[in-house]
Symmetry: C2
Subunit: 391 residues, 2 copies
């Protein structure tokens, strides 16, 4: 076996630089970072809005659009703040890096429309009825402050420092007009670019996702019905931070884990099948007449065929927040993120059903939650995200 | 400008797979991950030891050595736990990934030797006098539980999931013999492989590091003097988690930031010089007779020539823990890690001086701290890390 003699040439990483110059276009009819193949790093931030007028809210979104366009092009940020000045230029920690496939998208929470609080911005008549909160559920253990959002910013890139830099520049460009409520950083394994990533359960996550234009049109992109045509080209995001009791999970034999999930751990195939993308056969029975995929298996409860044929576009990230204060327990798991046309028939009923019956429940807790409308994109420089409702 | 039309082919990452197959040898006279070029991701865990005999402590280290050797070779973990059995095989979330330049090293805190507490393991006569805690200092705001360690595990790799997987497998392989005290994950920008990485201040960090064999011998590797020859081939690690007030830093004009640090932000050159690696001229004066590098500049106070010619090997990682409970403030900054031959004359006096005089102090708080002895490596299969003192 080779020795790690410190005088010997060290193993050097190779090829890292290649990913860093790739640009994902920011401008377009839809915001990027939704159907974009998942990047390796992510940060979602929930902001409170502290300004009180629709005009000032528009200033935030116009500023953010300009900053995001520069960031996603891999440029240093130079645009002016809402106050019309900058005390310093770009914070500089990403100056040697490229765009690293950075995407930034923005979301609007229900309270922005006066739902569940005062109608601060006079937007109640623009509220899309699809934009509802996930109700409080058994298994919820929402951390203080980690519920909902006025605005969300979601940045994803293949370099973690590019992600932090984007969040930081966007935050300060808004000055005192916004305030952090909660945030969560996450990661995907590098192999995710070659297939379905594994989450910290060790299982592939996101196997059944809508991908074709017709599936995306039917299940992901907002329809603009009920008079809210400003959402055409947009979608709705449901975010849940799910802490996994990794120690308990790791004590569970793999065969039991597979019955909890309803898939084989190594291949990702449904129980009774051989390939990851084989169709779920929920009626299959074993030699003794029992269901191959148990009644409380996670995949059965979440399956499209058990949920009115609905599909959601999952784009989740693992997270590791380190040891919980007091020691002994790790706060790690999944930042579940799902995009859909209508959370009322897409994600929320599934989450409610899972909260009551999922065999996974003894291993998980939900510690943060938000639902936001993701408005359409800014099609070209001069347009801004949110203009269709705030402009 | 191109559009992000969702029907157009998406920008795909390229080259990511290349880094994942590289193996850094685990076995050797020194533990790996010290002079190894910094990987992109890192996690340091502080453990409490719950067993009470030196023999049981040795079992932990023998088990960890075997698990770490498998992990660093990119293999699935198969070794037995201290209890002689495993309930499940490898947790599986890194099954599709290679070694990703994983390194794992282990450290022993002062209390393991009965310093500052009972001598549980009868090791007081093996205590190396170099192994001291950093005293409590102005600017300290140590989070509950985030002080010291019985044992540390430090995993670094180019994939975050490989890091998490390593920490997880090592933790569970020790069963109930250890308990998490605190932990911190971190990252480096991808460009770090091509030069000195920038920290979240936006400045290059680690420009002056000992690299030659003679510098490493003089300043980094333990001498084994004072009867503690079991440390020959080892070193001492000082860890400090430093929260940076990024909002305040970002409001500070770049010229003022550069006077705080004593270097130019973009190039990393010392003030008054042009290249990053130019020698610090601490006596240089400007046209008006003032010192070019201010008296309280960070680089002046930390410079080798101001600290008895000492050098420490810095190998720090940035971190982002998200919004602090209560909102409004981000817990992000630097997990400072420095290796040296003797913390009493290497790092600790510098930290004490900086705590009193560093121009950076208004922007930072120290929220976690530990000093550990990093014993020599296991030279070949059958040996184990710590055998020289516990065996």
């Amino acid at each position: 076996m080779p020795s790690n003699d410190p005088e010997a040439p060290c193993a050097q990483p190779a090829g890292v630089g290649e990913v860093l110059d790739t640009v994902v276009p920011f401008y377009g009819p839809r915001q990027a970072g939704i159907t974009t193949p998942a990047q390796r790093h992510s940060c979602l931030v929930s902001f409170d809005v502290t300004v009180e007028s629709r005009r000032d809210l528009g200033v935030i979104m116009r500023t953010w659009t300009g900053v995001a366009a520069q960031l996603c092009a891999g440029e240093q940020v130079t645009v002016a703040t809402p106050a019309g000045k900058r005390t310093t230029p770009d914070s500089g920690e990403a100056v040697d890096l490229g765009a690293a496939r950075l995407t930034v998208n923005f979301g609007f929470g229900p309270r922005l429309f006066g739902v569940g609080g005062p109608d601060r911005f006079g937007l109640l008549d623009r509220w899309p009825m699809q934009l509802v909160e996930v109700p409080s559920l058994p298994g919820d253990d929402i951390a203080p402050g980690c519920l909902g959002a006025d605005l969300t910013v979601h940045a994803c890139a293949d370099d973690p420092q590019v992600v932090v830099h984007a969040i930081r520049e966007l935050t300060r460009s808004a000055g005192n007009a916004v305030r952090w409520r909660w945030s969560q950083s996450g990661f995907n394994e590098a192999a995710a670019s070659n297939g379905t990533p594994r989450n910290l359960l060790g299982f592939k996550d996101g196997t059944v996702n809508p991908t074709s234009p017709s599936q995306l049109a039917d299940f992901v992109w907002a329809s603009g019905d009920q008079g809210q045509d400003w959402m055409i080209g947009g979608t709705y995001l449901v975010v849940r931070r799910i802490r996994i009791d990794l120690a308990a999970w790791d004590r569970t034999p793999v065969e039991d884990q597979e019955r909890v999930i309803g898939r084989y751990k190594r291949s990702g195939a449904p129980l009774g099948s051989t390939e990851e993308h084989d169709t779920l056969d929920l009626d299959a029975r074993d030699a003794r007449g029992g269901l191959v995929i148990p009644l409380d298996a996670h995949v059965r409860l979440a399956a499209s065929q058990e949920n009115w044929g609905q599909m959601m576009l999952r784009r989740s990230y693992s997270y590791d927040n380190g040891v919980i204060e007091g020691g002994g327990v790790l706060d790690a798991g999944l930042l579940f993120m799902a995009y859909q046309q209508d959370p009322r028939i897409g994600c929320v009923p599934v989450i409610e059903k899972l909260a009551r019956r999922d065999a996974l429940n003894p291993f998980i807790k939900h510690t943060a939650s938000a639902v936001v409308a993701i408005p359409p994109g800014a099609r070209e420089p001069g347009e801004w995200v949110g203009e269709s409702v705030l402009g």
